[in-house]
């Protein structure tokens, strides 16, 4: 009978996965499950370890929980329309009730080992460290540290173990530990840097996704060491420079500060910095963002299919965690390059307990790069970041982070000027400000990791003549969230609550005639659950559900999500999918490529943008120095908002609804054979919008038109080679992207608006460009080679200097930023720019 439940003789009852039991329970009800458990109990003395009884009971309880959850979901589905804030409160109570229910059952007998892994030298968390428990019989229990350096190995049979923590570049840590029955043992580990590089004992975990080809169900984790491989105009790298090397991520060019991820618009990307929302984090010059690599701990990039922890955006998630300051000694760096100058300072305020890190960057383009190429580059930008991190106890940490960014620039040429190089006077500017706090703690008696996040984020975006903008927008969000993870043997049960309050205010200067731009106050509350279930050794399932409600809008969304990872030997298959909504969105007028003004508003016209994602991927590691991955994706989007297509592009227009799809696949090949690192990637993508276009209906008799939006880059190829030897670090990157769509023109005429009795004898009219059908033309392909050579000079133990020399756009390709159809003048991206940099570091 046990065989029916996967209980072969000698097996551990834990392999009778509670998932199967829970699924059975859905089907057959509790009586039958009790019978099954009784059967287990009956045979236990012969075949099962005593701890397995606990697991079986846990299975039962989880099954009950899951059943209740199902009922609850059905209830929600039936009452979605009438959901009100009280439901969120009820959900809160229900969720809290899970805590003792799940965790007490989980901690009843087996032991749990948990803690934080940090670098001994500076107290930095070390994500990705493998932590392993090995008993005398050789049984292994393991986990890898997350971005906080946190690990938890739960439901371990009580006993004596050898604890090992290992990570490349650090001396392995070994300790004999005793785990008493039912106890939760907290062990914080500080790893010493190795004198020479040592091999790492790798525990393959599904969470570990760092590396160029290590994409799993749309998720890729980026570490500063990855960013350092990319040639950049600044001696300190930047996250955005790495992102634009990834397939499926499209930038408009090296100016504008807009990223399109797998068919999504820039305003559909959720960007978080230490849990704080950053509305517009990418700087106006495309090599830079608010995330210099020097202060990044890690960045999780979800190109789609993200779990229920994240919401409110339609396309992707960029979740960046920043470094903590050095808790042992003061350290810092200053650097100078033709694009930016940077200063960083960090150090202990209370040694070992409280630290500060602060970073300031300011562009020097007009004084630097502009002089090098003798071309006007009217851009200024900068950012300042600060973070206080306190280790309150062995099991509690508190951090306060703040960031401010500013960007100003003039994009595009002046169509009315006789000077072909005249830059348009209109100026676009934006300013981000965000401050937030994060408190993480580990309750003494529960195998729980909990965090509380409170943040406030602001954005101001203006467009128009300097000092007198004709369009402006302000967005502000205050957010409170609680995220909890219960560590169980076969499952990490994640759940959380969130409450956001947003204020939106825009003056569009008549850009969109049918959008009300009054000040709006929008409250959002919700809850998510997301168990990560390990089924056997190979399969990891992550079903999720996110409920979010907007009381002031009368909108409630229930979003199912799903992620699955199957690992077998050198292969890893992954899948992800889900439903996503975006109530607060940014409106752009993509008819003008030089216009990066974004108006933030709640969903107009009574429709909320919605997307379904589907991702399927395969990754293989035939050697420990090679990874290959392929991942396909599909996004079905509806209720998108685009400017109504008209034949009068320079006039104001209406916002209208459109639907869209994005589909494609990525190929990545990564080779790591010291001293060479290589990453080759290819991205294939097709994005299509389908919109009813009244103007076309009148002209061509078609009620709607399918067209490729201006970010539909069909093919992308990227090759990166890094060679490190003799103290030098040589990086070469070549990128190729096929042309983006643009509007072809019939020509120009002089247009007289005859909507009343206008005298054609006297009225001059306006010059007009006559567009063809939308976006049928293709701009030339984009390609560029960047090279950098870096050398570090170590003066003494505490001081070193790095020198960088490089070429941006090494063969001086004239890559088009956009074509002004009025003047037929092309605005090109940056030409060949020799670059150099100097960085002085001390500690």
């Amino acid at each position: 009978m046990l065989g029916e439940y996967g209980l072969a003789e000698g097996s551990v009852f834990d392999s009778c996965s509670f998932l199967q039991v829970a699924v059975d329970f859905f089907c057959v009800g509790s009586k039958r499950l009790h019978k099954k458990l009784a059967a287990c109990d009956k045979i236990l003395p012969l075949k099962l370890a005593p701890t397995s009884v606990t697991s079986a009971r846990l299975c039962l309880m989880l099954g009950q929980f899951a059943r209740h959850s199902l009922r609850f979901r059905l209830f929600i589905m039936m009452h979605t329309i009438r959901l009100r804030p009280w439901l969120t409160a009820a959900l809160f109570v229900v969720s809290l009730s899970w805590t003792p229910f799940v965790t007490l059952s989980a901690s009843a007998q087996n032991a749990t080992l948990r803690g934080f892994v940090t670098a001994a030298s500076d107290g930095q968390p070390l994500p990705g460290v493998n932590v392993v428990l090995r008993d005398d019989a050789g049984a292994l229990f393991g986990a890898s540290a997350d971005n906080d350096g946190f690990f938890a190995i739960s439901q371990v049979p009580a006993g004596a173990y050898t604890l090992t923590a290992s990570f490349i570049g650090f001396t392995p840590y070994t300790e004999e530990v005793r785990l008493p029955e039912g106890e939760i043992v907290t062990r914080n580990i500080a790893l010493e840097e190795a004198e020479s590089e040592l091999g790492e004992v790798v525990v393959e975990t599904e969470r570990e996704t760092a590396g160029g080809a290590a994409v799993t169900a749309g998720l890729q984790t980026v570490r500063p060491s990855d960013i350092a491989l990319i040639p950049a105009p600044d001696i300190s790298g930047d996250l955005v420079n790495y992102l634009t090397a990834l397939p499926g991520i499209i930038s408009q060019g090296d100016r504008g500060g807009q990223l399109f991820i797998r068919g999504g618009e820039p305003t559909q990307n959720l960007v978080l910095l230490d849990g704080m929302l950053v509305y517009q984090p990418f700087h106006i010059v495309g090599f830079f963002s608010a995330f210099p690599s020097e202060i990044i701990n890690a960045a999780d990039v979800y190109a789609g299919g993200y779990g229920s922890r994240y919401g409110g955006r339609l396309s992707s998630v960029l979740d960046v965690s920043m470094r903590n300051g050095n808790k042992q000694r003061f350290a810092g760096a200053v650097s100078a390059a033709p694009f930016v100058s940077t200063a960083r300072l960090e150090g202990p305020i209370v040694p070992g307990r409280l630290s500060l890190v602060a970073s300031v960057r300011e562009s020097v383009i007009e004084q630097g790069a502009s002089q090098l190429i003798d071309e006007e580059l009217p851009f200024t930008f900068g950012d300042a970041f600060g973070k206080l991190h306190a280790k309150l106890s062995e099991s509690a940490q508190l951090s306060v982070s703040a960031i401010s960014t500013h960007d100003t620039g003039r994009l595009g040429v002046d169509p009315l000027s006789d000077d072909p190089t005249a830059i348009r006077e209109d100026e676009v500017s934006w300013h981000n400000l965000a401050i937030g706090t994060r408190f993480i703690f580990l309750p003494a008696r529960l195998p729980i990791f909990a965090e509380i996040l409170i943040s406030n984020s602001q954005l101001e975006n203006d467009l128009g003549p300097p000092g007198t903008p004709v369009r402006s927008t302000k967005a502000q969000r205050t957010s409170v969230g609680v995220n909890v993870t219960h560590y169980l043997r076969a499952m990490d049960f994640n759940w959380g609550l969130f409450l956001n309050s947003s204020t939106l205010e825009s003056d569009l200067g008549g850009q969109f005639q049918n959008v009300e731009t009054e000040e709006e106050f929008i409250t959002e509350a919700g809850i998510f659950i997301e168990p990560e279930i390990r089924v056997g050794e190979d399969l990891r399932l992550q079903p999720g559900l996110r409920l979010q409600t907007f009381p002031s809008k009368g909108e409630t969304f229930l979003e199912p999500r799903f992620r699955a990872i199957y690992t077998k030997g050198i292969h890893r298959l992954s899948a992800a999918g889900g439903l996503y909504h975006q109530e607060i969105l940014g409106l752009n007028d993509r008819r003008d490529a030089g216009d990066v003004f974004t108006a933030w508003t709640s969903s107009p016209l009574g429709k909320v943008p919605e997307a379904w994602h589907g991702i399927l991927g395969w990754r293989v590691s035939p050697f420990n120095w090679m990874d290959f991955s392929v991942e396909g994706f599909y996004k079905k989007m509806s209720n998108l908002f685009i400017p109504e297509w008209t034949a009068f592009p320079k006039f104001t227009t209406n916002i209208q609804q459109a639907d869209g799809t994005a589909a494609g696949f990525d190929l990545r090949l990564e080779v790591r054979r010291s001293p060479i690192y290589a990453l080759v990637s290819y991205g294939n993508s097709t994005v299509e919008y389908d919109a009813p276009i009244r103007a076309l209906e009148l002209l061509f008799g078609e009620s709607s038109v399918q067209y490729s939006p201006p970010h539909d880059r069909r093919h992308q190829l990227s090759a990166l080679v890094n060679y490190s030897n003799f103290g030098f670090d040589l990086s070469i990157r070549w990128q190729l992207g096929t042309g983006l769509p643009f509007n072809e023109s019939l020509g120009f005429d002089r247009f007289i608006l005859l909507d009343s009795l206008v005298n054609v004898v006297e009225t001059p009219g306006d010059e007009r460009v006559l567009y063809q059908r939308p976006y049928e033309g293709r701009l030339p392909a984009y390609h560029r080679l960047d090279i950098s050579l870096e050398r570090k000079f170590i003066f003494n133990r505490n001081t070193n200097m790095s020198v960088l020399a490089g070429l941006i756009n090494a063969y001086d390709r004239r890559n088009l930023f956009y074509l002004d159809l009025f003047t037929l003048r092309r605005v090109d991206q940056l030409p060949l720019i020799p670059t150099f940099g100097l960085k002085l570091e001390f500690q």
């Binding site: 190729l736 643009f742 020509g747 007289i752 010059e767 033309g777 030339p780």
Partner: protein, 299 residues
């Protein structure tokens, strides 16, 4: 590594190489073709045929591939209009004009009357024979059916009873709501005073007058006229000399003036306006009842 994986990796590597090579070759081209090689639109036309004018005008702009407006040179452009029912063809004359902003413009004009219900085709032809054609139909002339005036009410004004007179005009053959409806009255302050024309607009969107029939409020209009002449509203010494109804109708192209659906091989707007002035007479009794003094000529 298993052979299957090796084969797959090899295949993938080959695929990436071929894709890269293909894309690289395609990437050499750096030219942009913003305009079609063989455009099928030649002229932009903006103009209106008007039944109320004896000279018709259209502005013609060649569609060009430079934004900057070049010096207007109408040489080689021929504009003709043809009444499709009769086949009557008129060659329009060209004129280079200076517009309000100082820029030059091609204005073509023809001295001709246009008739209601007639479709006119305009052909604008280049020297090489490329032609832009536009068609518009002048709105139909409605045929008025004038009902007898009736007293619809009696009111007390300055302690005197006054009858309220209205008259219904049915506009037969009218298919759309007029853009403008007005009553044009010819009156004089006294027998020796000069005749004056006074227009009283009726709101076409008004629920009463936006639909047919038109109800002419004769008594109300008399009070309005008295006010405009500087007299007391109840003054009944005004000499009534005549009246007419003015109706302005726009052709169907005005519904969406930016569409240019009636223009072949070109863009712009080409429409028509029909002005119609149905007139009738009032008897002396009715004139007196309304509150006027009949003109001597009518007695």
């Amino acid at each position: 590594m298993r052979p299957a994986i090796q084969r797959l990796m090899k295949g993938a590597g080959y695929g990436v190489f071929v894709a890269g090579l293909t894309l690289s070759l395609a990437a050499c081209d750096n030219t942009i073709e913003p305009f079609p090689e063989e455009p099928d639109a030649f002229f932009s036309i903006h103009g209106v045929l008007n039944t109320n004018a004896d000279t018709q005008f259209v502005r013609v702009t060649p569609i060009r591939q430079t934004f900057v407006l070049d010096a207007a040179n109408p040489v080689g452009i021929t504009v003709t209009s043809t009444a499709t029912s009769s086949g009557e063809r008129v060659v329009w004359q060209d004129s280079l004009i200076t517009l309000e902003d100082g820029s030059p413009g091609h204005l073509f004009f023809a001295i001709m009357d246009v008739e209601g219900g007639v479709t006119y085709r305009l052909d604008v032809t280049r020297e090489d024979g490329k032609t832009t054609t536009a068609e518009t139909t002048i709105p139909n002339i409605p045929s008025p059916l004038v009902n007898q005036p009736i007293v619809v009410d009696t009111v007390i004004v300055d302690d005197t009873e006054e009858e309220v007179v209205e008259q219904q005009i049915i506009l037969q053959g009218l298919n759309e709501t007029p853009q403008r409806i007005a009553m044009n009255y010819r009156v004089a302050k006294s027998m020796l005073a000069p005749e004056e024309e006074i227009d009283i607009q009726y709101d076409p969107d008004n629920s009463t007058f936006g639909k047919l029939p038109v109800v002419v409020e004769l008594t109300r209009d008399r009070r309005t006229i008295a006010s405009r002449l500087g007299l007391a509203p109840n003054e009944k010494t005004i000499i009534f000399k005549g009246l007419e109804l003015e109706i302005e109708l726009w052709s169907v192209e005005w519904a969406v003036p930016t569409s240019g659906v009636n223009i072949q091989n070109g863009v712009g707007f080409f429409g028509a306006i029909g002005h119609f002035f149905p007139t009738w007479t009032l008897s002396s009794d009715v004139i007196r009842t309304v509150g006027y003094i009949p003109d001597k000529a009518d007695d």
